[in-house]
Assembly symmetry: C2
Homo-oligomer: 183 residues x 2
């Protein structure tokens, strides 16, 4: 179970609530790692039972009490151990969009084109987000908190995201043209 490690990674940067963790993920690792709140809350409880994190409750009015989690020494050890172990296999992903395209030979060309144009929009938006929203956010965060070594990693990962999305967009344009001309 690797939600654990993702949460430890974020909690190693600063103490946070489950809600904060979800937001952090959505704003950074979203494209290659994500988790839902109903997965995060039980995971944090389990992690506390295992001694990887500890929590403090901050009472609030009109809202549920805020529960701030903090990584423990044991948690930091577990994180380091996990980080030091290299990934030795290619992890196959899942893409419904590609699976559909793969089997779309029997579909009418204009139906395929419609699907591809929807994908093009989505990936173009993501590309813009990575360039105009995430890139400055990483830069700001590094400048503010002075997390230079961490920031270098974030920027590297973001750069891969940008390159992959650019590749995807270029391929979609190519695929659309291919199908348009041969239809």
């Amino acid at each position: 179970m690797s939600v654990t490690h993702a949460l430890l990674g974020f909690l190693d940067l600063s103490p946070m609530t489950g809600y904060d963790l979800k937001r952090s993920m959505d704003e950074s690792t979203q494209a290659f790692w994500h988790a839902s709140l109903s997965q995060i809350y039980p995971a944090l409880q389990r992690m506390q039972a295992e001694g990887l994190v500890e929590s403090e409750t901050h009472p609030q009015e009109g809202k549920p009490d805020k529960r701030v989690y903090r990584i423990t020494g044991a948690g930091r050890s577990a994180l380091t151990e996990w980080l030091e172990e290299p990934v030795r296999t290619l992890e196959p992903g899942k893409s419904t969009a590609l699976l559909k395209l793969f089997f779309s030979g029997r579909l009418a060309p204009d139906r395929i084109l419609r699907h591809l144009r929807i994908q093009l929009d989505l990936h173009q938006e993501e590309l813009v987000r990575l360039r105009d929203v995430i890139a400055p956010a990483v830069a700001r965060h590094v400048a503010d908190a002075g997390l230079t070594r961490e920031g270098r990693m974030w920027e590297l990962v973001r750069e891969l995201g940008e390159r992959c999305e650019a590749t995807y967009v270029a391929w979609l344009e190519h695929a659309i043209q291919e199908i348009e001309t041969r239809a």
Copy 2:
């Protein structure tokens, strides 16, 4: 559950056993869709109960009887319906390797480099496989079976795979150099 649709997609091309389906997936959609045998066998039974497929048993000696599945009219309808529905959201994937890199700020640079070089090997191998194994396999299959429209889709998807792997490899080389020079 989309194992169902993947299986329907393959069975629409020709009748097959569960074992065949697994092999077909491994040889084609593996990078963006996969399933294990212990997922495939129960799925086929469920699909038969739902009337999406039907099966014939071919007795064999020394081996378990071969059970060949064939798509039904209802199965073909379900497949078409699914194919015609466009994918309207970006599906976030999961990459343990990227998640680790994202949190590797505290790791020693040569440890990070070791991880990245392992990844480089894996992705270079995959790139070779796509170019030298999959590309001719697609071409052969199209020539043999004359599945020209399907083949065009397969080739398009393969091309994306190749472009993405090439991008990934280039980025890994860039990341390795970055860390080597700044370490």
